[in-house]
Amino acid sequence: MGGPARIGPGMLTAGSRPLHFRFDGRELQGLAGDTLASALLANGVLQVGRSFKYHRPRGIVTAGPEEPCALVDVIGLHGREPNVPASTLPLSEGLTAESQNRWPSLRLDVRSLADRLARFLPAGFYYKTFMSPGWAWERLYEPLIRRAAGLGRLSADLEPHADPAETVHDHADVLVVGAGAAGLAAACRLGGAGLRVILAEQDVLCGGGTLLDERWTQWRNALRARLEQLPTVRCLTRTAVLGAYGHGVFGALETLSADESARFGGLRERFRVMRVRRVLLATGVLERLIAFPGNDVPGVMLAGAALRYLRRYGVAAGRRPALFANNDEAYEALFALAAAGVHCAGVIDPRPDSRPAARARALGIPVHGAALVGAVDGRHQVRAVTITELDGRPRFVLEADGLLISGGQLPASALAGQLGATLEWHEGQAAFIPQLAAASGHIAGGARGVCGLAAAAADGDAAACAVAAELGRSAAALDLPPVPADPEATALRPLWEVRGRGKAFVDLQNDVTTDDIRLAVREGYEHLEHMKRYTTFGMATDQGRIGGLVGCAVLAEARGVPLSEVGALRERPFTQPVPFAALAGAEVRGHFRPRRRLALHAWHESAGATFVSAGLWLRPLVYSREPGWAPVLAEARAVRERVGITDVSTLGKIDVQGPDAARFLDLMYANTFSTVAVGRARYGIMLREDGLLLDDGTTSRLAAGHFIITTTTANSAAVLEHLEFHLQSTCAALDVVLTDIADQWAQFAVAGPRAREVVAPLTALDISKEAFPFMAVAETTLAGVPGRLFRISFSGELAYELAVPATEALAVWSALLESGARFDIRPYGLDALNTLRIEKGHITTAELNGNTTAEDLGLQRLLKKQGDFIGRTLAQRAGLNAGERLQLVGVRPAARSARLRNGSQLVSPAAPGMSLGYLTSATPSIEFDGWVGLALLSAGRQRIGERLLARSPVHAEEVEVQILSAHMLDPENTRVRS
């Protein structure tokens, strides 16, 4: 019997209750406080997955988020969650997990054939093959590759169970990332100086490296107690800082404890957006692996991870493990295991001798100096390791049930890299040390290459003092317990690769070997970023955290250049993968965008309206839940024959006041507003500076220096922004006040031959044809409410628009319905409105599509001849006045029974492949027999009377159409003026 086992109480599991879980169908037991990884190890489970490409058996390599191998699928209530690192997944009662990337079972994986064929599948093999026969890539090879690729399997039901999610915005003076020795010391100092501090720690406990060294317990507890008393310090554990985005913005993910999750209705994680003045990175160090043949066999684990499993969970990585390391720190694992009664098989150290080697020998552990591990025996589990001389000659075979490895430590510089750190090569530590410009942030402790916990604590403190000084605070002296002294260390001996037979991995997840790197160099992919992309090195879920530097070193050697010339992998968010749900927050699905509701929303709803989203607005489309045109046409017919009422409150409304209001509008609109009389409205068009149309609408003059603009619903925000921009730049000299009054006023159109009779009873105003002609405007009382009355028409009928404060909308609307009851007044929705305006040839955003000019839409007479306006000069360009431009026309099918379709292309029967234009809007007609539509047609006004084809090949439709003037209904405007 060998292999891992629980051998005692751990810091997190001591005395805790047992939990049951399932892994690959096996019922197992762990302890509260365990991670899935520690619980698996406690049960002697070594192999937990298969690798990406070769499907080789893989075990647990680390004890943290940097885990490359031990990723599992977690089977939950709502589906299957892939790629969860067992090393960070807290064990919970009933947890069900499965290994990934294997079929049919973990032990017997059919695709591991790839491993046997590996010599034919070098890095980038797919670029060189699968090309013939021509059809085969997509139909044969690609599906095969895709099925083989990918790690876990995601499956989830579509039910809108919507896991809760939330995003919290945090602010502080200083963000300290990492609560190890350096971070704790820094936070204490900063908090003592009265600064607002967020101390973010991804672990469930604060302490970092101090958690692994019993001598530091007292110091750590003292600092934690001090931090609790500091009112300006917030300590966020289980909170990983994921991204540094500049300007003091950071993204972090907090994983909730079970208790807090329950309090927040099952919320699993909380995304935090932190905005801070300064950042102090105390992210500590990561241990790196060594590339040697068989360095991926289950049972090979980083030494630091073994120490963590022992201290935190009381789990020994093996009952007879060996250690292969080139540095002193790694021996701590051995000593701790030995102290816990584990018999260690021996140490293999490339250094001839070292201080801890002597200590190991004293403990009776054999130490093989000036030696390497040249091979690992065992496929599913380490059985023995071959010890070699430094030159590769075999020395002997050492039996062991696990191999702890350590290639040294390197700063955890993911965030520093995102902040633009420069990397300085440090020969002594054989690592890149990140350096930041002071403006970007500070780094302290192991994260900038400081060795030892005491040194890290001092460094954190010093960095905190510097930050406090930058923020104008003097940091008060702290009365803290003394720190235990750091041991003296023997220098590390850089060791990247042990060459030998068999695969030596630098990327354990993507199965990139040292040979792959050399192949990439031979093929010219020798730049690190080329090598990465060619081999996929460093592109797995762990982003090369533990093997990255090793691969770079192998690359440097293959190229014959120093490592400093090769550099390191580029860091990007996220330091750890983040679930879509957490990143997205709560504003998803039904809450993806807010809903803007009309003041009369409830009324429309009770009247049976079908709503449609128009931007953020919910608008009544038709007052019926039935599909088809019948209800729409009934509404439109009511307008043409009697009277209808519609809610047009979504139109943009802008109040323009001030001595220069008219001058301002004259510049902003292509037509003139200074000549509009008080009490009158005018239809206006606005151009962009490039001469194309921006928007249209009516603008009314209430007083000499007071106008009300209406905009289209779609462009309301853009027009307001356009006006505000020009008012503060181009027209900064003008004295004008712009106010968005869109929500203040509800606005209704009452349209139809009986409109006057419906409106008249509500107002004291004489609204006869003579007294209140087309385009008249008045501020008046409407149904007892102070409002505004406009005589404007979009439908082509006699019509009034009434604007009243939105709070009074229901009262006035009801009054109108009551007044109209004798004419059987009908509310009409957006669809009927559209039918009416198409018949009339009025444009909307379908025609005002950003590519049309005033001339194109037949509005050229509105362009003023005198005076400047936005767009005036460029509207005169040849390209905007060319004869073949698309112009607005009306369209009817030649056969009255035929229907028209928006988006059909207009072609001449002689050249049915050449588009002459297209249909923008179409509707069954009230006034005319059959359908009518509007189109943009090349030289359209000259084609009036022609017959063309309206083709919609995607629907296999073709309709013969007749081209008409766009002013199909009442071209003389007698109705609107009646």
Partner: protein
């Protein structure tokens, strides 16, 4: 991600603003002619360097700001109101 110190509202996220482009292109005089307007509308310095640009604080004070920002480092060197509403006292 940018945070722009609005002279009226304080430090605010870029998402509160609407970018309005290069602020170094005043609108030509009414009669300046086609070429002048074509240049104004279409041509850009687009420097990989300091850039003076318009930002409209749409979600806050709705004032137009003239911001000098480096387009490579995103450092913001200065922010000022495009036009000073006369007499307004500075807030925070």
């Amino acid at each position: 991600m940018l945070r722009i110190p609005c002279p009226w509202c304080g430090l605010r996220d870029e998402s509160e603003f609407r970018y309005r482009g290069d602020a170094g292109r005043p609108r030509p005089a009414a009669e300046a002619g086609l070429d002048a307007f074509n240049t104004h509308v279409y041509e850009r310095d687009n420097p990989r360097d300091w850039h003076t640009e318009w930002w409209l604080h749409i979600a806050g004070c709705r004032r137009l700001l003239r911001v000098v920002r480096h387009t490579l480092t995103h450092e913001i060197r200065s922010v000022e109101a495009a036009s000073q509403p006369q007499g307004a006292e500075r807030g925070r």
